[in-house]
């Protein structure tokens, strides 16, 4: 019995999507010799780094019970403003990086104030911020791209440290920071508490709103980081580059087990993000035509979400019944 309950606890802790991911990797490895190669894995990770970084920020907001739909716009604007600082004002590169991170954090701050202080539903508030960010990003250079950066700028998207691509290092840092923040700090406790029952947190005399604002600021900061990576990788900054990324990050977070407020983890979110990236890459590598890819991704996404919710519910019910 003890063994069994331990087994169950283990299953409860590992998101179901991890098993689906494992299965998927096995299937792709069997069906294509090009999939499980060092080159392709490093390719997957560096292409997926943007989604990973974004979902590391979004998960924190999602746990507080918010839906964060502004990261696509914010990451675009961060990249554009960094490029503007670099090309128009000739600022040194480190300063430009700080500009991008500040722009991201500022928009996160706006989101947080809208949601926590003004009481606007997070869906609408972040949607509005997304519109504003895209508006500024397209308006600031009359809808044109910035390009012709100095060569050093490409380091954050194309360089490597100890033969590991820099984007992969950055996404690892993002993951570690979210992991530690959520699991081992007081802020993390507050984030889970806000998602679990915000009212009781407020009634017990804690200022919940500021922690909520901080969660959004953190997500904005991550969007800024993603903006740096994407701009540096493309060596241009396009005013629509982040379009749709907010939905992908949302999907990644949900796949990773954050179905309702107060649930979810950094590990789950990174597995969810990897799921999406691996699915895309695997379909490409095995040579599935583009329109079929879309037809496969949809059912695969919803299928694994349904599966993980059902599995989780079943395990819970059974473990309650066992007690």
């Amino acid at each position: 019995m003890v063994n069994r309950s331990k087994f169950r606890a283990f299953f409860l802790r590992v998101p179901t999507v991890a098993w689906v991911l494992l299965l998927m990797i096995i299937v792709f490895t069997i069906s294509s010799p090009h999939f499980f190669t060092l080159h392709n894995i490093s390719n997957i990770l560096s292409q997926g780094s943007i989604l990973i970084i974004l979902s590391m920020g979004v998960i924190v907001v999602k746990i507080t019970g918010g839906i964060e739909l502004s990261v696509g716009g914010v990451m675009t604007l961060a990249g554009m403003s960094m490029a503007a600082a670099l090309m128009k004002f000739d600022w040194p590169i480190p300063l430009c990086l700080i500009v991008a991170l500040l722009v991201g954090t500022f928009f996160g701050f706006l989101n947080g104030i809208f949601v926590a202080k003004m009481g606007i539903p997070s869906f609408i508030a972040t949607l509005g911020c997304q519109g504003m960010a895209f508006g500024i990003a397209t308006g600031m250079n009359d809808g044109r791209v910035f390009s012709g950066f100095p060569r050093q700028m490409g380091y954050f998207g194309g360089g490597s440290i100890l033969s590991i691509p820099v984007p992969v290092c950055l996404s690892a840092i993002a993951f570690l920071s979210s992991f530690i923040l959520l699991g081992y700090t007081r802020f993390g406790v507050y984030v889970y508490a806000i998602g679990g029952n915000e009212e009781s947190l407020v009634l017990s005399g804690k200022a919940a709103w500021w922690h909520k604002v901080k969660a959004y600021m953190y997500s904005g900061f991550m969007a800024g980081l993603a903006g740096i990576v994407v701009t540096s990788r493309n060596m241009t900054s396009q005013p629509m580059v982040g379009f749709g990324m907010e939905f992908e990050a949302f999907a990644a977070v949900v796949l990773g087990g954050s179905f309702i407020a107060g649930r979810g983890s950094a590990i789950g979110a990174i597995i969810g993000a990897l799921f999406i990236i691996v699915l895309r890459n695997g379909l490409n590598v095995t040579g599935v035509p583009t329109y079929l890819q879309l037809a496969i991704i949809g059912p695969a996404l919803i299928g694994s979400i349904v599966l993980s919710i059902l599995v989780e519910r079943g395990l819970r019910n059974r473990s309650y019944a066992g007690k």
């Binding site: 009481g119 519109g131 504003m132 179905f259 037809a295 991704i297 949809g298």
Partner: protein
């Protein structure tokens, strides 16, 4: 008489208190009416400002043009409103719109079947997608944003599967009448929109099912306890939303005379922001069809006005985002105070 003095003082006090009550009553009443109609006032104010700066706005042709542009948006927003009233959200409307256009385009250009069948097939496909979403919400008990987000991808897959990579274009005239035609001098989409607004208004206000929608949104458990079949209400709400989204897609592709894979995607976010701006609560149970009409009109008037004022389309998104946030904030603030 000693008592003579007393009543006069009393009556004086009485009259004074009556005046006070009247004044209070009036103020409360005025406030109530203002709260109810302040969004309409906002819309009128917006129109007035635009008219002052550019006379062309108030021309009949422009107003009809605005309504025609708004009609597809309003039709989708109605469906979204019904779903929002149940306390859910439907993220799949944009993609279902694309499916509606793709299916009708397929039947019109790739088969020899008459156009009503294309129309029916499109509406059927939309309803089916909505139905699946509803079942996922009501029976599998997925959170609505997640279930409908999945349906968004499935819709995308379906329309890509139907279209491959080639867009459909060149439909027959009878079909294009749905989007381009005129009836009594007014564009046909406006008629469709008006009929649907009326039907949904009556449905939500006077039918048992309509009232159940509100009850489900206000408190699902209480609704269940009082004998409402919550599952059915939810499933039909999502099916209605799917149906209307497909209809919106049909109207859109009939007007454009072409379909591509991204035809519906830009409609999703305004379809959510519109009703919420118009006063439908995202928590469910509050709002109505009027809200979706007003919200959609505010957005279209804003866009049209910015075009007339010569504001670059690059900055328009910024203004719209700002307006959405401010409008919803105003709504929340006023609700909190009253």
């Amino acid at each position: 008489m000693p008592v003579n003095n007393q009543p006069s003082a009393n009556s004086k006090r009485y009259i004074l208190s009556l005046i006070r009550v009247c004044r209070e009553f009036d103020r409360a009443r005025v406030r109530q009416i203002a709260f109810r109609f302040f969004r309409v006032l906002g819309l009128l104010l917006l129109c007035a400002i635009i008219t002052v700066s550019n006379r062309n706005f108030i021309r009949l042709a422009n107003l009809i043009n605005i309504l025609r542009q708004a009609s597809a948006q309003i039709i989708i927003s109605i469906g979204m409103t019904v779903v929002l009233l149940t306390g859910g959200i439907d993220l799949s409307v944009g993609s279902v719109m694309t499916v509606g256009s793709a299916v009708s385009g397929f039947f019109l250009t790739q088969t020899g079947l008459p156009w009503p069948i294309a129309l029916l097939a499109a509406l059927g496909a939309g309803t089916a997608l909505g139905l699946i979403g509803g079942i996922l919400v009501a029976k599998v008990k997925l959170p609505p944003p997640i279930a409908t987000y999945g349906m968004l991808w499935i819709g995308k897959g379906v329309s890509f599967g139907i279209m491959g990579s080639t867009p459909f274009f060149g439909f027959c005239n009878e079909f294009r009448y749905l989007g381009k035609g005129y009836l009594f001098g007014i564009p046909f989409p406006i008629w469709i929109m008006a009929v649907l607004v009326t039907i949904t208004f009556l449905f939500l206000k006077y039918t048992t099912m309509g009232r159940s929608v509100y009850a489900t949104g206000a408190n699902q458990f209480a609704a269940k306890a009082s004998g409402i079949r919550v599952d059915r209400v939810l499933i039909s709400a999502y099916a209605i939303s799917g149906f209307l989204a497909a209809l919106g897609g049909v109207i859109l592709c009939a007007r454009l005379n072409a379909v591509d894979q991204d035809i519906g995607a830009p409609f999703l976010l305004p379809a959510i922001a519109g009703p919420v701006m118009g006063g439908t609560s995202m928590e469910g149970g509050q709002g109505g069809v009027g809200s979706s009409v007003i919200g959609a009109l505010i957005m279209i008037v804003l866009t049209n006005g910015m075009n007339l004022l010569g504001i670059s389309s690059l900055w328009q998104q910024f203004v719209i985002g700002l307006v959405v946030v401010l409008a919803v904030w105003l709504d929340v603030a006023i609700k909190k105070r009253s």
